[in-house]
């Protein structure tokens, strides 16, 4: 974990980056964006039986402003593209995206004029969950992968680079 506790009056010694990553990775508030049958599996994963809240995704945030992880569960039609893009743009940095199900990953069986062939045509995706629909375990595994990604992140280094580049 990167924490080392020393004796005495509760001193804690760690690195700033590790502290930030620890905080971020343990509170990935999801934005549930269910557009098809995958949404039902996502609801099952969020509800008491599978309880995604165990991993810190305690509060499904229906406002993109206060969400960290966009769970895009379902088919995106081309008519829907501006809405998806707008929601992604409204999320505050840092943000991550899970593409849940075959439709979100690649368009799935809907290889037609009306369906977007994978949401990575429009927004960057961090974790893809295959399946039609994937089981809740799949979504939980995807969330754990996101947490893994967050823990390997270097938030301060990025910030420092921004400062150098001006």
């Amino acid at each position: 974990m990167g924490f080392q506790a020393y004796g005495g009056n509760g001193w804690l010694l760690t690195k700033m980056e590790q502290l930030i990553n620890w905080g971020r990775s343990r509170s990935p508030w999801p934005l549930p964006y269910g557009t098809a049958c995958c949404g039902i599996e996502m609801m099952a994963a969020l509800a008491a039986g599978y309880d995604l809240g165990r991993f810190g995704a305690e509060r499904p945030s229906f406002s993109p402003r206060q969400a960290d992880v966009l769970i895009e569960a379902g088919t995106i039609t081309k008519k829907m593209v501006p809405i998806l893009k707008k929601i992604y743009d409204q999320m505050a940095e840092p943000k991550w995206v899970i593409a849940m199900g075959a439709c979100a990953c690649s368009g799935g069986v809907f290889r037609t004029y009306s369906t977007l062939q994978g949401i990575d045509n429009v927004i960057p995706v961090d974790v893809y969950v295959p399946g039609c629909p994937p089981r809740p375990e799949g979504l939980i595994y995807a969330l754990m992968k996101v947490m893994e990604k967050i823990e390997n992140d270097h938030p301060l280094r990025k910030h420092a680079l921004d400062l150098v580049e001006g």
Binding site: K78, K79, V81, P82, K85, K86, T112, Y113, S114
Partner: protein
Amino acid sequence: MSLKDRVERCLGDYATAFVECRGDLCVEVPVEDVLKVIASLKDELGFDFLSDLFGVDNSVLFEKKAKAAKKKKKAEDEALPGDDVPPPPRFEVNYLLLSLERNERLQVKIRVPEDKPEVDSVTGIWKAATWPEREVYDMYGIKFKGHPDLRRLLMWDEFPAYPLRKDYPLEGQGEERHLSYTTTES
């Protein structure tokens, strides 16, 4: 009196053809008379419920039929030249009517030519026809005269084609919808 007799008596010369399939009756009427026909079916025969309204593109079906007929003719002999019947109009619009009182169903079919895809709207008789007519307009490009709000229903407004026409490719022609933020500069 059977349903067919009653429809025949009610419509008279407007009914150009009857088809019966698995217990359901379909009556074909001319395009320009559709309003009169629907109104009299509603008022006189009690078909008080429009359960559906949809379009059909028959172009591929007609092509196949014409090809098969040509083959057959060639196989038989070269006689009967020049009696090529012009193919029927390309599009259909179907109205599925239901009489709630008598529990009877009737299909009314009109054939719409490709060069003049215009049909009178039945929204004045049934409000329920507004969305189905918009869908038919969206998918086939058939215009409904007198419709209160004839916009696309399923595709976005700027979509350039009519996707359920048989000459439209399944995977589309690369139409995309993009998001553009309008920036107000002060």
